[in-house]
Amino acid sequence: MSSQVKKFIPSPSSPPPIAARGVVHGLRTNLFSNLFNSVLTVLVVLLMIKTVPPLVDWAFTHAVWSGGPEMCDGSGACWAFVIDKARIMLIGTYPMEQAWRPLAASILFAGVVAATVSGRCKKRTLTTAWPVFFVAALWLIGGGAGLSEVDQSMWGGLMLSLGLATIGILFSVPFGILLALGRQSRMVGVSSVCVGFIELVRGVPLITILFMASVMMPLFLPVNLQINNLLRVQVGIILFSSAYIAEVVRGGLQAVSSGQLDAAKALGLSRWMITLLVVLPQALRYVLPALIGRCIALFKDTSLVIIVGLLDFLGMTKAASQDQLWLGHDVEGYVFCAVIYWCICFGMSRYGRSLEKRGPQTN
């Protein structure tokens, strides 16, 4: 005789009360949790109803996408202007028949950036890839050795902005590291020179440095020595940025624990070896996100070169909007400019954040 053991089968749990699930719950906790929040939500929604549809109308519904200046009647955005001027905004007055060269350089640039961001390449590959790219791009854009030369006065637009920023970063990071090491140095002469430089540069706006590079530097050079404006401005940007990078790196140097130093000393490493092999690699890892922040700032700051007469991306946009044929469409130009700047800067900051998440151990 088998006794049937009654198995306990729990009845299905009842669903949470209607007030604690689904859309209603989400709305209640996120948007209407109390009177103040409800009023706020209503106000924000009203504001959006007031502003978003006209904006969409302006940017899309009534926008003019092709044709000449006569097509734009002012009821919507005139994207035809941006399309017409896209070339000048991107590569400046670079000769049309040579336009493949900046294009090739930008493809190379995209390749190197993709390799860096993917995080799959070895560090050594990257440290060789960047200088190789740098030389190749300079050759492609500047010419010489088989390619016809294109004068620097024709470099402009986004190409110039990216160039100024890339060269600025490539040079100001090592220089900034040197300054930071100099500031930490126990030699009073060295450290006071570095502190003086860093604090002086950080105390004044970039514009004054650019004016210095553009107006004052020719006075400092020997009478018969001429350096073109672009190079002088580039030097100014590098000096400016390296002072800020030095401060970032100093934070990293101070974060390396003294135990590391003691251990390295106990192993009998010389002072230079300790700095190069033990302190710097760790310090740089700590401050990598902050360094990327500085790189974003540097890229944004290159827009100031317009004030000393170089036409970078923003400068070309401004110049394009002063074309007699297309008067009154500067807002569209600036919107396009802002979208591109935003994509690049936001991409960089996302990359910085992903490095932060990956953490100092695995990188």
Binding site: T29, N30, L31, S33, N34, F36, N37, L40, T41, V44, V45, R186, M187, V188, G189, V190, V193, L200, G203, V204, P205, L206, I207, T208, F211, M212, V215, M216, P218, L219, F220, L221, P222, V223, I296, K300, D301, S303, L304, I306, I307, L314, K318, S321, G328, D330, V331, Y334, V335, C337, A338, Y341, W342, C345, F346, S349
Partner: protein, 383 residues
């Protein structure tokens, strides 16, 4: 000093001597080059030009100015304009920044998202572009003087600027200011006394409301008692533009809006990280004591937030002062803009750039000193 110690220190000493020697040598060379260049280009040196009549037209000026004034006067006007726009921007950016930061951590999903979008957009676009954008949109979308917006009493907004009534001080206005000063002093004393009373007894008069009443009421009473010694010169439309009143030109407005919006995004991030750094237990304890959410924010969270965000905000303030130099790009006559014009006229770049640097360094030094003092005040006193 014994010889082994000397040998140990020799490389360091040599390096420093070499470095300082090299810098001195380069400086000397630069000096010689500069002398030769200045002579070759016929450029004067020294600060004598400051007392020469400049002939610079300046549209926005806080002091009386005419083109017949000296370069020195023009540069002073520039310094004042820099200080004015920086101070005003710092105040407004702080208010907007705190609002943005609080909105970033709001429990209201929509508000938090909106603030996040604001911060990400403004931080990832160059300030100069924001300024150009503000300037262009102001000019493009504001109406012409004949169709001016008139939000309230005597204020007109159009694409020539914002026109506001100019206060004209009549005799007796001194008493009103005196009353205001007295009211402020009295309120400070009152707040101190009431704080001591609260510390000692737990009860105190509502010093905030009384002070507010004093500061508003006393000058108002004196104002009416002395026979309303204040008149306004209201702007009036004549022909194609307004006459009279005070004008904030679009260059100034665009610069102000751009600087405030840009800096507020950074301050907002400081405030957000400050708020998030406050321990959750603090919030729970405050709730357990039965405080209302507004009171919790004002009396518990924000004071602790200040400790975290003052140092980073100091940096943002000094950047704001430096960024105000972008005024030159949209034509507001700040110090850099006026200095640039002077360089264009007499080529004395070294002197003008030196003056710029000196002024910016001193402004930044003052900002840092004030903020460090504030920082020391709000830090926890360890007992």
């Amino acid at each position: 000093m014994n010889t082994s110690k000397l040998r140990e220190q020799l490389p360091a000493i040599l390096t420093q001597v070499l470095l300082v020697g090299a810098i001195l040598y380069v400086a000397l060379q630069l000096f010689h080059n500069t002398q030769a260049n200045l002579e070759a280009r016929n450029i004067a040196s020294g600060f004598r030009f400051l007392s020469v009549e400049g002939g610079l037209p300046i549209n926005d000026s806080l002091l009386a100015y005419s083109p017949a004034d000296t370069y020195g006067r023009a540069f002073t006007i520039g310094i004042l304009n820099t200080l004015f726009v920086s101070a005003l921007s710092i105040m407004l950016a702080t208010i907007l920044g705190v609002l943005v930061g609080v909105a970033r951590v709001s429990s209201n999903w929509l508000v938090a998202r909106l603030a996040a979008v604001y911060v990400e957009v403004l931080r990832n676009v160059p300030l100069l572009l924001t300024l150009f954008f503000c300037y262009s949109t102001l000019l493009a979308f504001l109406p012409s003087p004949r169709k001016s917006l008139a939000p309230f009493g005597g204020i007109f907004i159009n694409n020539r600027g914002v026109f506001i009534p100019r206060p004209l001080f009549q005799e007796g206005i001194g008493w009103v200011f005196l009353a205001l000063g007295a009211a402020i002093v009295a309120s400070v004393v009152l707040v101190r006394v009431s704080k001591r009373m609260r510390d000692e007894t737990g009860n105190a008069p509502p010093s905030g409301w009384i002070s507010l009443g004093l500061i508003l009421g006393l000058p108002a009473a004196v104002y009416f008692f002395t026979g309303q010694p204040l008149e306004f010169d209201a702007p009036v439309l004549s022909g194609f533009n307004f006459k009279g009143g005070m004008i904030l030109r679009p260059e100034f407005t665009a610069l102000l809006i751009g600087l405030v919006m840009y800096t507020a995004a950074f301050i907002g991030e400081n405030v957000r990280s400050g708020i998030q750094s406050v321990d959750k237990g603090q919030l729970e304890a405050a709730k357990a004591l039965g405080l209302k959410s507004g009171v919790i924010m004002r009396k518990v969270i924000l004071p602790q937030t200040l400790r975290v965000c003052i140092p980073t905000t100091t940096n943002d303030y000094t950047s704001l002062v430096k960024n105000s130099s972008l005024a030159v790009a949209i034509g507001y006559p700040d110090m850099v803009s006026i200095g640039g014009t002077i360089i264009g006229q007499n080529d004395q770049a070294i002197e003008v750039i030196g003056m710029w640097m000196a002024v910016y360094l001193s402004i930044n030094l003052i900002v840092s000193l004030v903020m460090n003092w504030l920082n020391a005040k709000v830090q926890l006193v360890e007992r």
